[in-house]
């Protein structure tokens, strides 16, 4: 059997800064994961539909626009409605501390700020995700 962790890396909302998303996508690839990269300016509907079709183990959302308190809960809600409530969702970007705690309460597994070593994200994901 040949199991791989599959991760969707998405950029919801309107900011165009995708370097962080690309760095994380590349790091996860180099850690042996299969990373589906969706590109910029995705709606929560597009992201969750992709997560379903790709049957991913985890979804990483990169947000630098400040709209995380709108976008992330919507993604979580849609994933639950699609029957993917158990999929690990993590967020990267500029997220104030209190917002991060709030998102974690809603079901986000981890929130990563600037300067997080990619090795930490890889270690966390490997631990949190049991590939299907």
């Amino acid at each position: 059997m040949n199991r791989k962790i599959r991760v969707l890396i998405a950029k919801p909302g309107l900011d165009g800064h995708d370097r962080g998303a690309k760095v994380i996508a590349r790091a996860l690839r180099d850690a042996g994961m299969e990373v589906i990269y969706t590109g910029l300016r995705q709606t929560p509907e597009m992201i969750t539909n992709a997560a379903m079709q790709e049957d991913v183990d985890a979804v990483g959302l990169s947000i630098l626009s400040g709209a995380h308190m709108t976008l992330v809960p919507r993604v979580l809600e849609l994933m639950k409605a699609n029957g993917q409530g158990e999929v690990c969702v993590f967020v990267g970007g500029i997220i104030p501390e209190e917002d991060a705690r709030e998102l974690e309460k809603l079901g986000v597994k981890a929130v990563y700020g600037p300067g997080t070593p990619t090795t930490q994200v890889i270690a966390d994901l490997t631990q949190m995700v049991e590939p299907a």
């Binding site: 042996g32 994961m33 990373v35 589906i36 990269y37 969706t38 539909n49 993917q84």
Partner: protein, 320 residues
């Protein structure tokens, strides 16, 4: 409800989960496909191949939209896309980026897209691509677009999976001798010169058409004329949404020809035999490997390393 039943009823999450099982070669995936197999064989499988950067994903983006909508001669069709990208030979991981170019499709949730890593397979398709296509057929898609990894000259597996193979070229990739070489151009049922917005596209199309002409003449000398399909050259610009109506029409024409000529049946048969042969080879190898005491094999490999036995005589010895 179990997975096969849910797949037949159009449950997308169940389908996605089944695709994962098949990709990972899990026994429950095989069991589900057993139940679904009678429901396969009705979809038109269209392969899309060509060099990296020729615009395969962008073309699939536009083409899938074109095929999904009803136009003058065709009803609306259910379309699925299976898109390959290469796995890293070092980490085994993969960055699957076809969705970046398929943005329009992502706004159409009824079009099902699945990204697939090649996982070390070399023919342009992942090992389990055939099994995933079977599952998509059972799920009731009328058209399944299979996009290969960027293909050079010898990634021709797609021709044995698809009913219709599109080879996508772009201007500036080679001269007429490149076009005469064996390999990927030979498998084209339809040749697409994409990026027609760029200079040199017309002349690339002429060069390719001329090479096809020579090929068709040579073939006519040796085979029955009524069976021949004349490979059309289609100019498209996925960027400017040009040429899609004409390309969809050419695909439909090929579909009609496949059915009229008996070639549909022949290709469908060849595809199933291919799948069967591969599974048989894998099974024989696994069974044989399991039957060998581990010490036996490592000892044998040791004698190979020391140049005491050649690979040929080693195999003879293991089977004697």
């Amino acid at each position: 409800m179990d997975i096969p039943e849910r797949v037949l009823q159009g449950d997308r999450l169940a389908l996605a989960r089944l695709l994962t099982w098949l990709e990972n070669d899990q026994p429950r995936g095989r069991a589900a496909l057993d139940a679904l197999f009678p429901h396969t064989g009705k979809s038109h499988i269209i392969g899309v191949t060509g060099p990296s950067g020729s615009g395969k994903s962008s073309l699939v983006n536009r083409l899938a939209l074109q095929l999904a909508q009803a136009d003058g001669s065709q009803p609306a069709r259910r379309v699925a896309v299976l898109a390959m990208d290469p796995s890293s030979p070092f980490s085994g991981g993969a960055l699957l980026g076809d969705r970046v170019r398929m943005r329009d499709l992502m706004e159409c949730p009824e079009i099902f897209i699945r990204s697939m890593a090649s996982r070390g397979a070399l023919g342009g398709l992942a090992r389990a691509a055939g099994e995933l296509v079977l599952a998509l057929e059972a799920a009731g898609f009328d058209i399944i677009l299979v996009e290969t990894v960027g293909a050079g000259q010898s990634e021709v597996d797609i021709a044995r999976l698809a009913h219709t193979t599109l080879v996508v070229e772009a201007p500036g990739l080679g001269d007429d001798i490149q076009a005469a070489k064996a390999g990927i151009l030979e498998i084209a049922d339809i040749l697409v010169v994409n990026k027609s917005d760029k200079s040199g596209a017309e002349s690339a199309a002429h060069t390719l058409a001329a090479m096809l002409e020579i090929g068709a003449e040579l073939k006519a000398e040796t085979s029955a004329p009524q069976a021949a399909w004349k490979v059309p050259v289609q100019l498209t610009s996925a960027l400017n949404r040009e040429g899609m109506v004409s390309l969809a029409a050419a695909i439909h024409e090929h579909f009609t020809w496949l059915n009229a000529s008996g070639e549909w049946e022949r290709r469908a048969q060849a595809r199933l035999e291919d799948l069967f042969n591969r599974l048989l080879r894998e099974r024989l190898y696994e069974d044989w490997q399991r039957s060998q005491p581990q010490a036996n094999l490592s000892e044998a490999l040791q004698s190979l390393r020391k140049r005491e036995t050649s690979p040929y005589s080693l195999i003879e010895r293991l089977f004697s």
